[in-house]
Amino acid sequence: MTADALSSVCNLGVLDSLSEASISEILESWNSFCIITETIVKGDDTDLSSYYSKFQSHVSSLCKYGLRDLVEEHFLLSLQETLEKHSAPKFWKNFDANSNGIDLETNDKDMQEDVVELLLCKALEEISLEKQYQEKCLLMLVNSLQICQDYPSDVENVLFSKYQLIVSSVLMTTLPRQFPEVLHWYFKGRLEELSTIMAGDYEENNESQDKNDMENNRYGKMDIDGSFDQKKKLEDKLVRNIGMVVHNLRNLGFTSMTEDAYASAIFLLLKAKVYDLAGDDYRSTVLESIKGWIQAVPLQFLHALLDYLGDSKIYLSPSSTKSPLASNPSSCYPGTSKPSEGIIRWQLRLEYFAYETLQDLRIAKLFEIIVDYPDSAPAIEDLKQCLEYTGQHSKLVDSFISALRYRLLTAGASTNDILHQYVSTIKALRTIDPAGVFLEAVGEPIREYLRGRKDTIKCIVTMLTDGSGGNNNGPGNNGDSLLEEINRDEENQENTGLDDDINTDDKQAWIDVQRYVYAIEENNNIPGARIKILPALGNQTQGLPRGREDSRFHKNSVVKRAQARAVPGWVTPWEVLVPGCQKQTISCWEPDPVEADPQKGSRYRRKVDVLGMIVGIIGSKDQLVNEYRVMLAEKLLNKTDYDIDTEIRTLELLKIHFGENSMQKCEIMLNDLIGSKRINTNVKATINQLSKTGAESREHETPFDIINATIISSNFWPPIQDEDVNIPEPMDKLLNDYAKRFHEIKTPRKLLWKKNLGTVKLELEFEDRTLQFTVTPVHASIIMKFQDQTSWSCKNLADAIGVPVDTLQRRINFWISKGIVSESSSNDPNDHLYTLVDSISDGGKTVISNEELVADDDSERSVASVEDQLRKEMTVYEKFITGMLKNFGSMALDRIHNSLKMFCSDPTYDKSLQQLQCFLSWLVAEEKLEIRDDTYFLKK
């Protein structure tokens, strides 16, 4: 009968078959079971063993009647009740009591952390003990169940996982708000403590590695060894403590919360470390040391922690040992490889975080970094690596553009500064972004702004060609023009691209080789550079031909060598030839970032062209070349010797970049100078010969040696300021003789003197002193007049020299300021009297003083500036512009431009839209025109 009852547990019919006796047995067993359960759940270890046999018999009798589920349920329920009523409140009470203590405002952090630590450890230990006891109880039930029936073997697992769930859910439902914060505080405190121990370790290790000194090393080693063990112990203890806490927390089901807490603590620590290491110093790279620190401190800790947890795994269900990157399913795979895998994931995670933090830090300071660019290259390198990891280039672009707008593109910044920053930006971003895509975005606001400045072109030309204008912050760049720098950079780049870039074009080959020659020379002083410079090239001090003939000679010799490059066997020797050159790693193919316009992705965009970006500011190289021509003319006209080596070199460099054609006029100007030198010698030699052999009548007091002429082909020079001046008679005669002789030699060519140009070196002898000056011819003429007559009225003097009165007054100021001429009012109120000061009354300056003419440069330019030229050329069009505006009321810029193109033919209109705009804005400034809504009106 009983057997029947058992066999059909779920059969309701079985209830009928239950006898009175069996019912009473069940009831009795149930009551006793309940009582015992209650007792043991609330009791302790001693009760447990004493109740065991009774408990077991009741359980088995209940099971006999098929009431196993009921038994399990009741037991678990009573465990849960105890937890809810007793353990959990007690556990949380610890933190409740402390809730006032955990106040973020508290100043005494250490104290607080200590309190937190103690409390947490104690509470965790308590609740863990309770839990252990309950687990024992549960084990008792399991044993009883196992004995009485052949239950499925997994009953233990099922029950324990149920119990685990109960514990977690009870604790979670009663979780106080501040608990995560408590955990956070705890881990933060522990980690800081640990990191100070470990970091000390790490640094000492580093130091001892650095020390090569044997003795130091020995002592150091001993020291370190001594403290090392101690530290190791401390460290182990700390890790064990933390491991314990983590373990206990996990046991209670706080796995993810715990991980969150210590992960955030680690990140905080890492962030602080990055800030600490990176700081405001851009001269050294910090990425490696950050990585080193990650290896040394947080990873060591995690390693120890994971190891510890791995060893002490007892009841860890797979879900409770989630790896840091939980999303990865393989991380759940239990096995021996897990800790190391976890560590690697942690490492990647930490490194990414470090990269991102450093990147943000550097991006925020990018402006400053670029300001001292050549020095801050390590910081840029760091940033580059960070961005490679994080790919947040757009962040950089946005932040940098706003920094630029706020700090650089303001009225207060000088054009030169902006240009330098622009160049530095190009150079710096070139490292980060070789394709130049982001550079394009960043550069645009600067270019846009610079276009609005009037002196931009002038500044660019100065920066390009003038040594002092270049960026001389960099080491070894002192006095080098930007052009030289660009060239050097390019030749370095060329070196790497040698193999794939075989160029058979003669000209290109010449250029390339020329670059090599520079490279060799520049690297000549590098220690260890074992270069024998080819004899034909080596004797050049500057690597540049002095004259035209020279240049041709070199060209030929070099081109032959260059062509040899095409022979494969020659490729390597060339590379070997230049060992001192900076070897760049051959860059692997990099696709344009997605933002890039594929249309622009040509091969040439691979290399960011600094010069191209600079020319891009203005829009056309012609304007740049024109400005350079004016500056060159000014420079050449003021030369007293014919030494134009630097100018030739600059011109050659410009030719490389702008092409021969655009530099043709400049080349002719330089050739004029070279020709002048030859003709000058020739003329003087023949005249002197004549005077010696033939007529003795020639005045010997003015020999031709004192005069040097610069003969220019004025068609190719920028318009030269013309000013009439009567130069002293003897000089005039000399010039005429010179011109005559020139005509004889170079018939039918004739000389046309520009008497106001040039320089005069003169010596003024007074009774008590001698003074030397280098002045303009006008100045010289003025002072010469005082030779015969010590006092001149303003008008008379102006007439005698043949200049307007106001010009005279301006020019004579020079002599007045030198104390050689004095000004006094005469009888005529409209006239002044100039008198020669014969001797210095104070007698202080009796020494010969060498005075260089530095007087008002702007007013005494010998060449009309580009603006003036444009101005002059455009005045013809002014009438046209007023004419069309008169008849059409208002016109937009491009319509004016088109109309001029269409109808203005006599002086053909050949200006660019920008030039027209420039001119129109002058007219607006002169209040001849008005501009409203981008259309121009006649001012009424």
Binding site: K879, F880, G883, M884, K886, N887, F888, G889, R895, N898, S899, K901, M902, F903, C904, S905, D906, T908, Y909, D910
Partner: protein, 185 residues
Amino acid sequence: MATMNNQDSNNSNNRTAAPPTNASKQPLPTPKAVDTQSVLKRLQSELMALMMSGDSGISAFPEEDNIFCWKGTISGSKDTVFEGTEYKLSLSFPNDYPFKPPKVKFETGCFHPNVDLVGNICLDILQDKWSSAYDVRTILISIQSLLGEPNTSSPLNTQAAALWSNQEEYRKVVVEKHLYKKPNH
């Protein structure tokens, strides 16, 4: 610029050469079409001369894409009833200019004995007395002086001709009309 001119002349060639084939009304000999180049040159030099002359009170300029259509501006001469007023003109040059006079019209309404209500001008040099020696500048100057010295014997605007004798009243009308016109301009 040279290509520009060529293109322009081609355009105008097309424009001007087209009518003869379609309409037999004005049978132009073919050489005339080739001569467009010289017409163009002439107009261009006239423009240049006009721009450089600096005459005050007269001005004209070709429209954006067509050198055969000009807009002109004339100010009333001093000491006439038209003083202080400004009139817009349109000048359209024939293809055989300067052998034929340009068609000149007032664009702004002009209350004048020899100007009708739609702006047609009765001026001998623009009709039978035309000579190729005249140019834009002389036309404009003539019209400017016509303003002050109308020919009241053969008026297009009889009302204006009748009022001319009363200069004071005339002035009032001119100023009123001019003020009325101004917002349009």
